[in-house]
């Protein structure tokens, strides 16, 4: 089947949805292609958003309402196998001829099993930040035995800033997510103790530093500067963790009921395939390069291909949505010549 449209938006996460809405509202024809059977992307797995504790479902609902009112043609369950600035081919064989493309394909989560020393997938009570959000959704935080954890360790930078696993880049949002998650644990389990193990606290956004202080002052969350070297299972499913407190320069062994790994954002492998097919440039991290970091951040090295959201680097939800607006304007400007 051959379809024709003005702009193809690849990826139905927050950036893709927003970009598609903007394009249609400006009177352009647009097809939104999403690999999954539902829209919303990774945000669907998230419970609340930092630093305001806004419900992520509110954000998704708002975007989906906007989408309903637009005239966007959504192709769900459709994987893109080839892309250029004028053609998008799907796994089903459908070809979409277009005048511009917005890539909003996002990121992949780092597979925590690769950091074998933490035992994710082997020890029952080693979970990831995503698993924890799932628990927040259900309203209960519990170990595998069903008990509420009394002591929780949160480890930052799992699969970020780690050359050993070829992920040199910072995933940017994990520090503040860890602060948010620590507070959410303390809100649900006030008697629990929460320890965050960090390299640096990168509180870059508005209200983040304040939230970090609130976590310490109001919720008594402990922050230890040092990475956990390994986790091991103790009887009854508890975990022993080893770390170094680099501020006191002392090694530390601690027993906890649950270890939460803050998994980073990783560039998807398909970025390399897109780059090969289109001539797009990639950064060393595997994320797609923008044409210019300052004035043309949503443009790429290939005319007619635009980018929005975490396809270029880890970003917050707000940044991704704002960028989607920018990308759609740039695409419109391009097709209008």
């Amino acid at each position: 089947m051959i379809m024709q449209t003005d702009v193809v938006v690849v990826g139905g996460g927050v950036a893709g949805i927003k970009a598609a809405c903007e394009l249609c509202q400006a009177g352009s024809k647009c097809v939104l292609v999403e690999r999954d059977s539902v829209l919303g992307g990774k945000l669907r797995g998230w419970h609340k958003l930092f630093p305001s504790f806004t419900s992520s479902s509110d954000v998704i609902e708002e975007l989906l309402n906007e989408l309903k009112q637009s005239n966007v043609e959504c192709l769900l369950g459709s994987e893109v196998v080839y892309i250029s600035s004028t053609l998008c081919r799907l796994a089903s064989g459908t070809e979409i001829q277009c005048r511009a493309v917005i890539l909003a394909t996002g990121y992949n989560l780092f597979d925590a099993r690769i950091k074998e020393e933490y035992g994710y997938g082997i020890y029952d009570n080693v979970i990831t930040s995503v698993d924890l959000e799932r628990m927040f959704h259900t309203g209960t935080i519990s170990t595998l035995s069903g008990a509420a954890p009394e002591k929780v360790a949160i480890l930052h930078c799992v699969g970020s800033r780690d050359e050993k696993v070829c992920q040199r880049h910072c995933s940017k949002v994990c520090c503040i997510t860890a602060v948010k998650q620590a507070i959410e644990i303390k809100k649900m389990l006030p008697n629990s103790e929460v320890f965050n193990f960090y390299m640096d606290m990168r509180m870059f956004g508005p209200g983040y530093e304040e939230l970090y202080l609130t976590a310490q002052k109001q919720y008594n969350v402990h922050f230890i500067r040092g990475r956990i070297s390994e986790a091991a299972q103790l009887p009854k499913g508890r975990l022993q963790i080893k770390a170094e407190d680099t501020l006191t320069a002392r090694p530390l062994i601690m027993s906890v009921d649950m270890l939460v790994l803050m998994v980073g954002m990783k560039a998807p492998k398909q970025n390399a395939l897109f780059a090969l097919a289109t001539g797009l440039e990639l950064q060393p991290s595997g994320f797609i390069s923008s044409k210019d970091l300052f004035l043309e951040a949503v443009l790429t090295s290939v005319p007619g291909i635009f980018v929005a959201g975490t396809v270029t680097a880890p970003k917050t939800i707000g940044e991704s949505i704002s960028e989607a607006t920018m990308a759609s304007r740039a695409a419109l400007k391009f097709i209008e010549g």
Partner: protein, 362 residues
């Protein structure tokens, strides 16, 4: 224990025709183990193993002690490989973990830096007039036993089960650091959840104990032990491991490294003498076995033929649990029936619990 990743770490292990490189120290520490390997793999399982009297030490201890330069050890290793080729073999197996680490490191160096290989080739020719032939397959001898574990199981006489209660024996497995911590991809199961010994234990009916300090080094560490003033570090590491495994009441420990097997065994003697602390049931210490000894017991070998009388921690409690038939009176008789001498009584074997024959602090 649940294992996530071990199947990602597999390696090819040759099935036959092995060139056997012995360890420098094992024949003193565990004199029956290498012989047991040759008997099990060669005689019982019908594989061809060539035990070459021409090969030398790999000089790994000298290398790790900064006495032997890398260029020298590469040439020594190149000579071993040439000897293998001259003997008509392609599959190199090493009895020692340090050597295995050395061979792995050098083969990887040559792969990454072909100019270094070329230089070694020249050095080898200048020194010995030999040509360098790299092995087709490199494995540690514990890899070979792992590879043959099911054939051993078919001939099993005593499974790793308490024959009185029917319960599986609880086994601590300890892997030498140089087996997989340097090159995880070259070890069965990788470095975090190694499977080489665990696979044997599970195959022969035992349970693997996962305890918090499982990955911790035994403390041998060449600089820890070879420098006398540093030996406190060595024993502190073994102590840490023993303390961590004790609550799991292991029936025995099995290792694949010469150093680990010796230190986890003999430091138990030392800790008992120093502190009066003994681990294991009834204060009788935790027996420490080589994987050949474990395989030998499973196959019904005589424990004294396996050289188990040389252990610091007595193995009889384990033999009794497994229901192994043995002659207690023959313990200190050598292969020719000659009395080989008997160690003095020690705290670790005295079942006295927290007492000591003498207090070295006084």
């Amino acid at each position: 224990m649940r294992r996530g990743a071990w199947e990602d770490y597999q390696k090819d292990i040759a099935d036959d025709k092995y060139y056997y490189a012995r360890s420098c120290i094992r024949q003193n520490f565990f004199p029956g183990s290498e012989k047991a390997f040759l008997n099990i793999v060669g005689r019982d399982l019908g594989r061809e193993v060539f035990d070459d009297p021409l090969h030398t030490s790999c000089t790994g201890i000298g290398y790790h002690s900064d006495i032997v330069p890398y260029e020298t050890i590469m040439t020594v290793v190149a000579r071993q490989f040439s000897l293998m080729h001259e003997a008509g073999f392609e599959n190199f197996i090493s009895s020692c973990i340090t050597s295995f680490g050395i061979y792995t490191e050098i083969l990887n160096t040559w792969e990454e830096f072909p100019e270094t290989e070329e230089k070694t080739r020249e050095s080898l020719y200048k020194a010995t007039k030999r040509e360098l032939y790299k092995p087709k397959n490199l494995a540690h001898t514990s890899d070979v036993i792992f590879h043959l574990r099911d054939e051993i199981k078919q001939r099993m006489k005593y499974p790793l089960v308490n024959h009185l209660t029917g319960e599986k024996l609880r086994v601590v497995e300890h892997i030498g650091c140089h087996y997989a911590k340097i090159f995880p991809k070259r070890g069965i199961g990788g470095s975090e959840f190694p499977y080489v010994l665990a696979g044997m234990i599970e195959s022969w009916g035992g349970d693997v104990v996962d305890y918090p300090e499982r990955r911790h080094c035994c403390g041998f560490g060449f600089r820890n032990y070879l420098v006398q003033a540093n030996r406190g570090y060595s024993i502190a590491n073994s102590h840490k491991k023993l303390e961590s495994m004790a609550p799991y009441r292991p029936d025995f420990i099995v290792c694949n490294c010469p150093g680990c097997t010796m230190f986890l065994d003999k430091w138990q003697y030392t800790i008992a003498e120093m502190e009066g602390t003994t681990y294991g049931e009834a204060g009788q210490g935790i027996p420490v076995l080589t994987y050949e000894e474990m395989a030998g017991l499973v196959l019904g070998y005589d424990p004294w033929e396996l050289g188990m009388q040389m252990h610091a921690v007595n193995v009889e409690p384990l033999l009794n649990k497994m229901g192994v038939e043995y002659d207690p009176a023959a313990k200190y008789l050598g292969p020719n029936g000659k009395y080989i001498g008997k160690p003095l009584q020690s705290v670790v074997n005295s079942s006295r619990g927290n007492t000591s024959l003498y207090d070295i602090k006084k």
